[in-house]
Symmetry: C2
Subunit: 346 residues, 2 copies
């Protein structure tokens, strides 16, 4: 195990004061003779000096760490979000501390405290499901948090806090649009002409928007969306799988699933019944996160563009660092349609 070499060690080795070394190593525009500069650099690197970040954080009040609290890192979307965020953060020399709230208010609360006590400069928070239903409690925690907080993805009422999300309503609209086009592209056999969806009932301020965007666009185009064609899901593969029979039996031939996992489950069951996608059923998913995990994905889907989301998160927090008192800002990434092979005729 290596030993810890301090600034003082370097100073002693060179025969100057710690202050001088600090100045040089931090590239401060103080006029120190070039020879000294070079010498200090050389000695420091040959001694493998690494500044102690804790000490530095103590005095500068900046840790170059940010926190990320997600409901569950085993949700592919959040996993990707983390990776994308780390990619952009690391370029500015930041590390990311991640923690899982398990969608629990209590755990989230303790995480906010715990992570901020670590001195992070900013905290990205995907609010727990339980918090979405207890906005007042969440707000209290956020306001007490000694560092800026940015809501991510789940945009709860956030006049008091920065937020970055995706335009879910637009995503729903895009899904409706392509399904409508598909309907127009070719006449369906009898008993396959209806439109349906697998949607999630949650207070996360996401599923309802996707549904609203979808339903509104359908209505505007005069395409009916009947109650028996709306099946509840829970974002998991199995719920898509289980939705298939009801949809098929209702004569649905075009389905919007609120995420890709459910779309895959749906597709599997459809094919198990000896039917084909998209000939017998068109399917649109949501997320487009599967390919990032090495899962082959030929699903036509609405992409959330996780990289753009992460980039925007970073840009928002940097602006907040620069102007701590600026008014809170919420921004939304635009989703887009990725056309692959599961929608008939497009």
């Amino acid at each position: 195990m290596g030993t810890r070499v301090t600034l003082k060690d370097v100073a002693a080795a060179v025969g100057v004061s710690p202050a001088t070394v600090s100045l040089v190593l931090n590239g401060k525009p103080v006029r120190i003779s070039d020879e000294r500069r070079a010498q200090i650099q050389k000695v420091a690197s040959s001694m493998r000096y690494r500044p102690n970040q804790a000490a530095r954080a103590l005095v500068t009040r900046r840790s170059n760490m940010v926190g990320l609290v997600v409901p569950d890192i085993e949700n592919m979307f959040f996993s990707s979000l983390f990776k994308a965020l780390e990619d952009v953060a690391i370029r500015d020399g930041y590390s990311v501390i991640v923690a899982n709230s398990d969608d629990s208010r209590e755990r989230e609360r303790s995480l906010i405290c715990g992570v901020s006590a670590r001195g992070v400069d900013g905290l990205f928070l995907v609010p727990a499901l339980q918090s979405c239903a207890q906005e007042a409690a969440l707000r209290r925690d956020v306001e007490e948090c000694p560092c800026p907080v940015v809501f991510v993805d789940r945009l709860v009422d956030s006049g008091y806090c920065d937020g970055v999300g995706v335009d879910n309503k637009e995503g729903g609209r895009l899904a409706a649009e392509v399904l409508i086009d598909s309907l127009a592209a070719g006449a369906r056999d009898a008993g396959k002409g209806r439109v349906g969806c697998v949607c999630v009932e949650r207070t996360d301020g996401i599923s309802d928007l996707r549904f609203r965007g979808f339903a509104d666009a359908l209505a505007k185009a005069g395409v009916p969306l009947d109650a028996e064609c709306i099946v509840k899901g829970d974002y998991r593969y199995s719920s898509g799988y289980e939705a298939a029979d009801r949809l098929l039996d209702a004569g649905v031939g075009a389905v919007f699933c609120e995420n890709d996992l459910m779309a895959m489950g749906l597709r599997r069951r459809v094919e198990e019944r000896g039917l084909h996608v998209p000939e017998d059923m068109s399917i649109v998913g949501y997320d487009d996160v599967l390919p990032r995990f090495g899962l082959l994905n030929d699903l036509t889907t609405i992409s959330q563009n996780v990289d753009a989301l992460a980039a925007e998160c970073w840009s928002v927090v940097r602006e907040r660092f620069a102007k701590p008192k600026a008014p809170a800002r919420t921004s939304r990434i635009q989703p887009h349609l990725v056309t692959r092979s599961t929608v008939f005729g497009v």
Copy 2:
């Protein structure tokens, strides 16, 4: 944004010295009058005092943070590993800093430095692929690292460093065993009687062991494993998918895939050709990590037991904290067979 209240603030509010407050709040067994104790506790909590961890780390030389460097957090296995590790670490009050090496030696190197400069108490490292081929360079970094390192999963030559992994050879053996049983369970039609595998060629010290365990067990049982029944894969869905035709055409009816993703891809292609699993082909996967992501999995597979792996990681590092000079120790978790529905007759 909340304000930062320090120990001194609390001390001033109570009218005692900072030291006293520190003693009380850390539950030190110093005999301080109970009334003072209670009063200090009360004031501290009402002022919402949170100790500054950076300052504490500076003096105690313990940060209560550990690092985890993985090749890619978008690999489901590592994603699960992180979650499992966080679960166990948080119970001891530890936070985890995660970073992706992208399997690059260079990036890993800079991560080891960067993370350890943050003062982590320990570092869990899944060596980058590139490092597995440059053990000397890796070793140098590890030995220079000012905190204990634990190799995880990819157990490179590690006489000098603790390690925790899975017994991959045993996993391969288990896969062979169940496939052999399956063969015995029912006679196969002609042209489906051979055994094959989709395996990965890598220097990660994992794929080769799985293969070796598999091949050795087959040999011992007198079951042939012919060259044309061994197809190369890359751990991704698509490579399993693409392996299917060659395997089928070679008359293979029982396949071991070195991970679940490839097994799923293989299965998909087999079914696309109108065949059935397990009637026409038995498939054994490896990992059993898919269900954790909400992916329905009815694959018969070799489970790595990520939770046990993480628990063992934690136990190893704790022991290292306790005895910094103890000899390095490598331990291996035993994998086990999870019987589901993709092996014929078992």
